[in-house]
């Protein structure tokens, strides 16, 4: 959980980082805790309680890091890093081909197995899976193939298993 500290401005971390880390380590990890820490980090950026001491290299480095962190938060809130037209084009093509493949597979499997839960799950998981395909193809394009395959496989498998569980439960109702 200590990685969350990196969201705070450098000057803030220098002042409170150690003791903040000790308090953070003493608390049980939870979504609420993560939200609290992220909220605190945004507050520390937007309403810093410290004034710059001077224009030396340290304070310049602080400012650069703060600008980078703020830019990172802005990118996250805007939906991720900026994509080039080429990234978008390739991701769109892969998504369209995947959609065609999933549509054909769904039709064939429905013809053979009718409304079996695994087939239903495939149909329900198609839309979110396609958004995963688009996102991963676009954002992980420059990553190693193994990373791409792992993230894509894990994302789609997770989505399919979730939908399969939903379908199995729905069929018992």
């Amino acid at each position: 959980m200590r990685w969350l500290l990196r969201l705070y401005p450098l000057r803030w971390r220098e002042r409170y980082g150690e003791e903040f880390g000790a308090v953070l380590a003493s608390q049980r990890a939870s979504v609420g805790l993560v939200v609290d820490v992220i909220g605190g980090a945004i507050d520390a950026h937007l309403r810093p309680q410290f004034q710059p001491q001077g224009r030396n290299s340290d304070s310049n480095q602080c400012q650069r890091e703060e600008t980078m962190t703020l830019a990172m938060l802005q990118r996250c809130s805007a939906g991720g890093p900026k994509l080039s037209p080429s990234d978008r084009r390739i991701a769109s093509r892969v998504t369209i081909l995947s959609a065609l493949g999933l549509a054909i597979a769904s039709l064939v499997l429905t013809k053979i197995y009718r409304g079996a839960p695994p087939v239903q799950a495939l149909i329900y998981a198609s839309a979110p899976a396609l958004s995963i395909v688009y996102g991963q193809t676009a954002y992980l394009r420059k990553r190693p193939r193994r990373t791409q395959a792992f993230v894509l496989g894990a994302g789609i498998s997770g989505m399919y298993l979730f939908m399969l569980a939903v379908c199995l439960v729905a069929n018992r109702l």
Partner: protein
Amino acid sequence: MKKSDEEVELADFGRFSEPALLILVSLADGARHGYSMTEDIEAIAGVRLGPGTLYGALARLEARGLIEPLKSEDRRNPYRLTTLGERALRARLDSMMAVARTGQRRLASA
């Protein structure tokens, strides 16, 4: 009713005003470090402050001179109330007690 400077300071904290008050109450009987404050506040008010909220309020209190850090060899830095902090806490508690007394009096006569 005219507010004192100390009350204005605490009211100025926005969403951190309640955590700030709880921190001042926690420090009223002596210096404490962050973890100890979290435990104490949970015991007295039933609220567990997350580290983001705790240090957001601590930074504001320190910046306004209501609390001050003490030297420590440990990485857990203790804090204590300043004279200004003590006055601010006293003023805030007096104001809350006046509101509580009025509320109880009105409930009793209803």
